[in-house]
Symmetry: C2
Subunit: 242 residues, 2 copies
């Protein structure tokens, strides 16, 4: 009974994986808008109706792909930061490594990137499964910044932000309380790093700066450095060394 059910479950999981794999390849080639359930059914030699035993709708399949994409970018960021840290890199070098890794993944998987960081049809509510993977990138950034603050590498902002804190108590709890002086506004500033990263990546990927830059990669480094200056983090400048 248990063995049989296990077999059933395993076969089912395998087919789910096969469907996602086929959908992912089709996604990579034609994009999300043109992802067709019937096409993946044809690819797998199934009837289109059979897919509905595994995914209740096309959007559900797309959501599964979104979760995978979030996980992929999170993993890429984490291992880039790990590698830079074991290499003995400074916080600035580590964050630059993360930025480059995320952008690298984005140019290698433009459709997947657009799926997670592109326009999500404003009426669409991201399913709860997506928030955990989405936090991974934030966690990487938090670790870099906290290390920098701990070792005193983080410059104190010239103009402290006035007014009340702007982050949710829940977020405050996750990071272990508000940072102490002189970094009271670190949280508010830090998210600028995030928006700069995905904003710049999107801007370049979506072609808004075509015919404007002579070297996208070099300028991306510059943009990350300029944005990081706003939070007091010094990224390495100059030609790529790694």
């Amino acid at each position: 009974m248990t063995a049989a059910q296990d077999l059933r479950a395993r076969a089912r999981a395998d087919l789910v994986a096969a469907i996602k794999a086929s959908a992912a390849t089709q996604l990579a080639s034609v994009g999300a808008a043109a992802l067709s359930l019937r096409a993946v059914a044809r690819d797998l030699g199934l009837a289109s109706s059979a897919l509905y035993r595994y995914f209740p709708s096309r959007d559900a399949l797309l959501t599964a792909l979104i979760v995978d994409a979030y996980d992929a970018v999170g993993a890429v960021a984490e291992q880039a930061e790990d590698a830079a840290r074991t290499r003995g890199g400074s916080p600035g070098e580590r964050w630059l490594a993360v930025c480059r890794a995320v952008r690298g993944w984005a140019v290698a998987h433009p459709h997947e990137y657009a799926l997670v960081y592109g326009s999500p049809v404003p009426g669409y509510a991201a399913p709860a499964d997506t928030v955990e993977p989405a936090v991974r990138l934030s966690r990487v950034m938090a670790r870099v910044l906290l290390d920098a603050a701990g070792e005193g590498t983080l410059r104190v902002p010239a103009r402290p932000l006035p007014g009340p804190r702007l982050v949710t108590p829940a977020v405050l709890e996750v990071v272990g309380g508000a940072p102490g002086a002189p970094y009271e506004d670190l949280l508010e500033r830090s998210f600028v790093l995030l928006t700069a990263l995905v904003g710049t990546t999107s801007y370049l990927l979506f072609g808004h700066l075509k015919e404007v830059l002579t070297d996208d990669d070099a300028w991306f480094d510059v943009a990350m450095a300029v944005a990081a200056e706003g939070v007091g983090l010094d990224l390495p400048l100059g030609p790529r060394t790694v």
Copy 2:
């Protein structure tokens, strides 16, 4: 002949405008993905095939809407900057006014915003008609920055960017040559103002910071200020005054 042809042309232009208007309302309600030519035709009391006399394809209609959206955001930015300038605002205040205006337009027209600054299906090449409106926002930014540099309000960056210039000669020519000392890297830095603006706007609009911030509007101002610090522009801090 001329009068008759004029009448024909006018009728045609009116119908084109009606089609675009209907498409725009549908776009605003259901989004670009669900924009249906047949629905537009039904709305106008036409046969769906009749629309093809005015737009060769659905994408062409969408492109027309994209151009309109670019124009709208460009106009909004221009008039916000004009108003702030005639009000006697500093360059920082003027740029903040532009940022707020663009974001205000984005939240008022999320689908249109997503159309121009969201994911453009990476295989898609923006038609040439879109580059001129797209430059309007850049021009507004350039004017603010050049004014700031001219009046000496622009802080000199602490860490000058090394290496060769990264902007195209064509861009250099448009802005009237490379800026002089000590602002040699102003061009390279300035574009992060742009990516910060649309990156932050998208990030907020697309819900990536939901449940993270207590006050989106206030944090948006902070984010713009932090990003502007990287280019040496001081935005006003504190509660909204205007």
